[in-house]
Symmetry: C5
Subunit: 321 residues, 5 copies
Amino acid sequence: MLVNCVAYQEGKKLADIDRKDIHLHLKQPGTFVWVALRDADAAELEEMQEEFGLHELAVEDARHGHQRPKIEEYGDSLFVVLHVVEQSGEELNVGEVDVFVGRNYVLSVRNRTERGFSEVRARCEREPELLQHGSGYVLYALMDAVVDRYFPLLDALEVQLESIEERIFAGTSPRANIEALYDLKQKLMTLKHAAGPLLEATGKLYGGRVPQICSGMGDYFRDVYDHLVRINHSIDSIREMVTTAISVNLSMITLGESEVTKRLAAYAALVAVPTMVAGVYGMNFEHMPELKWMWGYPFSVGLMVVIDAWLFWRFRKARWL
Amino acid sequence: MLVNCVAYQEGKKLADIDRKDIHLHLKQPGTFVWVALRDADAAELEEMQEEFGLHELAVEDARHGHQRPKIEEYGDSLFVVLHVVEQSGEELNVGEVDVFVGRNYVLSVRNRTERGFSEVRARCEREPELLQHGSGYVLYALMDAVVDRYFPLLDALEVQLESIEERIFAGTSPRANIEALYDLKQKLMTLKHAAGPLLEATGKLYGGRVPQICSGMGDYFRDVYDHLVRINHSIDSIREMVTTAISVNLSMITLGESEVTKRLAAYAALVAVPTMVAGVYGMNFEHMPELKWMWGYPFSVGLMVVIDAWLFWRFRKARWL
Amino acid sequence: MLVNCVAYQEGKKLADIDRKDIHLHLKQPGTFVWVALRDADAAELEEMQEEFGLHELAVEDARHGHQRPKIEEYGDSLFVVLHVVEQSGEELNVGEVDVFVGRNYVLSVRNRTERGFSEVRARCEREPELLQHGSGYVLYALMDAVVDRYFPLLDALEVQLESIEERIFAGTSPRANIEALYDLKQKLMTLKHAAGPLLEATGKLYGGRVPQICSGMGDYFRDVYDHLVRINHSIDSIREMVTTAISVNLSMITLGESEVTKRLAAYAALVAVPTMVAGVYGMNFEHMPELKWMWGYPFSVGLMVVIDAWLFWRFRKARWL
Amino acid sequence: MLVNCVAYQEGKKLADIDRKDIHLHLKQPGTFVWVALRDADAAELEEMQEEFGLHELAVEDARHGHQRPKIEEYGDSLFVVLHVVEQSGEELNVGEVDVFVGRNYVLSVRNRTERGFSEVRARCEREPELLQHGSGYVLYALMDAVVDRYFPLLDALEVQLESIEERIFAGTSPRANIEALYDLKQKLMTLKHAAGPLLEATGKLYGGRVPQICSGMGDYFRDVYDHLVRINHSIDSIREMVTTAISVNLSMITLGESEVTKRLAAYAALVAVPTMVAGVYGMNFEHMPELKWMWGYPFSVGLMVVIDAWLFWRFRKARWL
Amino acid sequence: MLVNCVAYQEGKKLADIDRKDIHLHLKQPGTFVWVALRDADAAELEEMQEEFGLHELAVEDARHGHQRPKIEEYGDSLFVVLHVVEQSGEELNVGEVDVFVGRNYVLSVRNRTERGFSEVRARCEREPELLQHGSGYVLYALMDAVVDRYFPLLDALEVQLESIEERIFAGTSPRANIEALYDLKQKLMTLKHAAGPLLEATGKLYGGRVPQICSGMGDYFRDVYDHLVRINHSIDSIREMVTTAISVNLSMITLGESEVTKRLAAYAALVAVPTMVAGVYGMNFEHMPELKWMWGYPFSVGLMVVIDAWLFWRFRKARWL
């Protein structure tokens, strides 16, 4: 589905144009065309392939979808795949943005994502002195937007980890904690899949030899790279803490079991000892002086109470109860 | 066993030829011969070695089989070993395809595999403009086919992991879960053995210095490389999740044990306390007023019931029952 | 908030100057200006950006804060982000110092930190022969001060680990140990976040191609690098020991549980056996000679005592009690 | 102890020669001398050092023994240390072969090994066209033989792992499984020590700059390298599976304990409930109608049986029994 | 404290000289001075700094002590820090040797070490043809001595691990095993801190560009490097085995607990069943024929014995007892 199709000249918006007229604008010097598609079908992609002369393999990747994030050069054009990760209820939803960038065009195709990139277009149009850099700047703006959307997700995961930690040490709901930690781990893997390969790819857009389209914008792509490094570091350290938390949780469960065992044993003792005493006085010997004794019964019950009180005090002191 | 022996010229099939005539076609310019063998024996390999002038060490590897995936240059020809992994019932079956590629020939030998590569030949013949690239394109097509067959296997393993996860958190059949996780891990190792070394080797077929045979086809081999990167990433993350799942499963088992202990202890208490009461009233003291009391028996039983009811209510509240 | 604004010439302090006059001094040869801000707001940063001609992206990073430690070149100036970690009660507090360094200026902005860097300025002014190196030396002095402040924190963490170790092997307060180990791990991550990325960045300030500003000071930056390597090594080894300590603690808990189980079982036996004996002599058979026997009762109690004494001795020998 | 001392010319055996005459043959063009020693003492090594002009440090290494596998260049000669691993009963026995290779000599010293390398000499003499390559080919043949002997050991370890796996999941002999897994791990470390460093060293014998002695034999040394890669991959994956198996075994033990606990608890209940009932009817109240009832006794026993039958059925359903 | 101060010429000892005369000898060609200090204070270091013109930063490092092992170039002189690890009772004691090496001097400062390096000096003086290499050879001899002293420590740790392994599988003293494993791990970390960074640094003293002082001695420094590689490999594999041993020990503890539980349960059954039987015959029903039966009592006791015997046999068969 076509979202936008606009021609830009010298950093300024020229006009919304018809997709049929794209090739006319491509020929004009200092002009580039920025087309945005959404959940494009095979026919639309084929049409664009012809308009822009896209490489067969890149288009096929876009058609199949479910690519890993990457930046590939085909001649002097770039094919960029970005993962868009969105919170959707309790789950993380992974969409994909495929960007084809040539000297005088940008084609972005977003699939399975909720939120669009109209704000990116608006930002670009607000800064004509930067947009003069051409299609490379649009690529930067798109990547910057996608990457910046990872931060709040990460923050949410950190908050989640903190609340699990609290519950672990409070000793509450260990079963839920295990599930939550596992779920957290899975979400981290999802984010890692989005940010990890992109980090590697972005490193090739500044310093050393860079694609022609990105030249002169090294500082900007380094900035994106720097954000990705931060994100990857955070993911790795949350992952490490999750692993630690899982083993700490196991320790707490084992410890809890051990404490329960002690408590149970203490209570069992409080019951078993009177039972033993009662058993003794339930023996049928003819010659048991206590049985005939006037205060035998109170004495025996008193004995039970005294022993239990002493045991209780001992268990308390040993913190078993 | 010979499967096919065909000569191609300018990207088009010339004819099925006899293996005796191979050397005739090898001499003609713009022609290459594509021979497919299946579970070849030593004699067939020796015959081919003479026809194509294959290197002794490569042929020996093909004869022994059970090589790890690799791509080796012998002069200006290539020797490629690929693992073909096939689902066979519950198990993964690992076959091997050995491909000898020279400027004007392709010899593929598949061993211990169910499914052949006739579809690859069909695809190549449908695209004469690509097949014009010669033997390098055939190599690409074979590798692409082998690698593409890894994806459904990976998907199956992911589905398997998900069903194990569900069972873990449902707390059912922990024994089966452990076995299933171990089995999953083994299958991942099998896939890793197939895809890991191939990734490394494929990286040398594009960019920088590439073997003569593959020159001009960089974009295609990069595509295979990209698929392999995806597969390896997926394998690694499933592996990590399996490891996490094993330790999570242990936590669940320990937790389950702890819960069972509590439940048992609660029931034990419900039995032990009445036993103690009964023990007390089973003592043989002469002076126990309750014993003579008309309502002694109902009272004692009532006492037992009341204590048990109170305990039951306490245990329920503490979620031990 | 402006802390200091001083002009230096030939390594000696010229004068405290007004922020309005900065541009006057920047023009004079052999002079550099060192401005220190604290928790600077957007307006102050903008003013400085104009005075010194700072790069937009660097200023934006300083405005946002919460950057990871890094050293970035913008043309022939440097933008350096350092994490200042301070003990604040039981917690570690992470502040940030952003340093902009050009040929003839140093601008340092510290955010969310308790302790300032006046001592660094004092040290620089005490060593005019070194301060002659100009702004590069100031950068060195700042980095050296920040890095040196990591050491006492690390020492504190090592002491903490040692006290936890002692408690683990003494078998006391396992619950507190788990929490302390987890807390220790988190603090190590905080320090790692400060020192890890800085290590990597500092490695580019000596040997090979270095930024113009740092040239001729390789030995000094190598010294900082060397300190960072030490810190990172220590962090990594404490981390490894923490991981080991967590699993060792789990072993101790499991072992403790096992010992408690044995102890309980021993006590249970000491109670259960007399109960059984009493039960036997509580049977109502008419023909039980012992019941009529004069010494039946003492005998039965003696039997209980003897059995228990024997059991007690056995349990002691087996170290169950 | 001298095993062999033979001169070769143009790939063919010239004659068994006396160790005194070695220097005579070394001077003849196209000739090389191959000396094999076994458990050589210091005197023999010193003699050889003089004959061949070996480097002091290399000879010292050979004298000390217990080196790690390595390939060192001393001028234009090579000093190679290989680990020979042999199955000896249940244990792995590690011997060492030190090979000194120069342009016109090969000196191999094997220490603490059962099986010799006479078959390598035989193979070399059967292939004079390859032996023409000179001392480099002999080195290849020795390395190939040593490396090929690692494969059956690895296969044995794999078989061992499989049998342990079966026992783990069958739940039998957990104690023996733990010991077997630990033992397996140790053997893997032994093999890793033999194959790991050699892999790294062998990588320098083909491609890029290679020692003069090995030039023109790249394909052969690559073949050895390839075998070593396979071996190292196998070792690593068995190691990973052993680690997994250890944690899986722990899960099975914990699970087994949990199941035993349930079973025990069920049996305890089957005993405790009748005991409680008996206790009730053992109370000494005067007014307990059941006691006087004709069918009281059968009724009470019947009650016990019915309750136990019901419990038994419940436990069976819950799979506790 | 000054230990030695000797001038050497052409590899031979010239004379013990006074520290005041050092500068006189430094001027003579072919001469170098070797000074050894022990636990030097700031004044001594300052004096030496002036005599030899040492770099400020290097001297500062030596003054502070507690550096990590490293080799730093300052102009054409080297500053080397080595860790001397010594067994001191049950603990490892870490001392430090700081070596300043210039073209015509060697200054070694050892701190907190028991054993000196007089044997190194003796060895050097015994081999004048090697000592002719000058100060570089002295550096080699010192490094070689320090590194060789790591081997017996490693051997001791290996022996320690083996004795722990035996105790683990014998099932004795699990608590002591845990502590011993943790202690072992700590000692390995200490050794790793000494040998790890040195390995990396030593790699720069041979092959490629080496410091002037070490030129022509590549084979010697490679030998030290090779020893360090061996040490590091051994450390790593002992570490891995320690980790495995910790988890194996946990498995053994869990298993031991499980076995104890079974044993206890078996004994509990042997007591509980007779108690139940006795309870039944302790009921007070009027119509219990057995009670009046002549052989009732022997029968009931016999019943208990028979049931217990049967249970005992069953438990033995199931290996619970």
